[in-house]
Assembly symmetry: C2
Homo-oligomer: 241 residues x 2
């Protein structure tokens, strides 16, 4: 079974939602048969790499919130994060482009280190003092800590085209699947969970997707005898088709 | 819609079956929405890299065929290949390990050149005079011709661990899906086609998979109001959960 999670590093509900999903996954009896894939989604795809600002002024400017509203939202997120055992800085967090982080996550996907890296990025962005934006060396550190090769990570960060198509493809796919916000969870391309729902909802989604996991329906010609195929005993040699 | 094709370069029915599938795909009205992924399957996974032999003696030794039977099989394959417009050498073809080719195909997958490379490999193996086995330089040529970077291809071939896990994972998955021979086609993980079936069977499978392509079923908490998610208008801040 495959669970795809569309999310953004700059998305607090993605950070919280991932923990809720994982709580459900930990007690799911078939968890060893579940493959988790992280997919890219930028909340702020047009933000320039060097356009970094503190979260509260960004929220007031971009979404027209009052400073008090924005701060209350952060406090609420802090409470929700704490309930999942996550650290969350409710003050002086930065906001910026996450494009390079998504590109790096695609490298990590190929190297089997995606979950390690996204966890490092979330933690760095939401829990730690030092900003994760506009600092390639910081990203390289987090990548190496996640098990990636330093030179390889550096090379990807230095080349803006590296994995750019993969990020865009994920984003197009999100739109096709009807996701206009994140986190967005897709189970076997059959069930969707939108938002940081409670762990019980994820548990239910896992159960439902598992129950409807059906064997392949084989399609073949009515007249077909031996399939024209090669296997451990050699290649079939039907004389008539 | 995603079509996964498990196949082996040393599998003549895979070569023929791919052409039959493509004939069906060409006339499928939604062909632009079909993503094709090639997956690894070795018919002879235990063969050493340096163990290369002509096909006919291999068939007689491995499967206990008479030389005449083996040659008749090759002639039949030549006829079937010709019917699909494919060249096929019925004599003096070699057999050997395809593990390195599968590793190279995983690199090509990441670079978006998988179909080009598998086509080159099939053609080189089945239609051309020079053996494709035990000759890394030949594989590099075919990779470059498929649009891969020469150094990158060479590096993968030189490192037996590169993409080895990916090859094994594909093979495990084939077993889990019930494939014990190739070619094996899987449409959206819902429909399967085993063997080089006639183009009409592939056309029917494409139609059936397309028709059953259903939108995601969303799962959410009964009590859930606003999803705790971030979108283009900011992050939802529900006060009550």
């Amino acid at each position: 079974m495959r669970v795809e999670i569309w999310s953004d590093i700059a998305c607090p509900w993605c950070y919280v939602g991932k923990a809720r999903f994982e709580k459900a996954l930990q007690t799911f009896p078939h968890r060893d048969a579940v493959e988790v894939v992280h997919r890219s989604f930028e909340l702020d795809p047009n933000r320039a790499k060097d356009d970094i600002q503190p979260v509260i002024p960004m929220l007031t400017k971009k979404y027209g919130m009052s400073k008090a509203q924005a701060q209350a939202g952060e406090e609420n997120l802090g409470t929700q994060a704490a309930a999942e055992g996550l650290d969350y800085r409710t003050r002086d967090r930065d906001h910026g482009s996450t494009f390079d982080m998504h590109r790096l996550l695609h490298l990590a996907k190929e190297r089997g280190r995606q979950d390690e890296l996204i966890q490092n990025l979330y933690k760095a962005n939401f829990a730690e003092e030092r900003s994760v934006f506009g600092d390639d060396e910081r990203l390289v550190e987090l990548a190496v800590d996640a098990g990636l090769d330093e030179d390889e990570a550096r090379k990807v960060l230095a080349d803006p085209a590296a994995y750019a198509d993969e990020v865009r493809a994920d984003e197009r796919e999100a739109a096709e699947l009807g996701a206009n916000g994140v986190p967005f969870f897709v189970l076997d391309r059959k069930y969707g969970v939108s938002g940081a729902q409670p762990a019980e909802v994820f548990a239910q989604a896992l159960e439902q997707a598992w129950a409807s996991h059906s064997p392949l329906k084989l399609i073949q010609a009515d007249s077909q005898g031996d399939a024209e195929a090669c296997g451990p005993d050699g290649c079939a040699v039907p004389h008539q088709h």
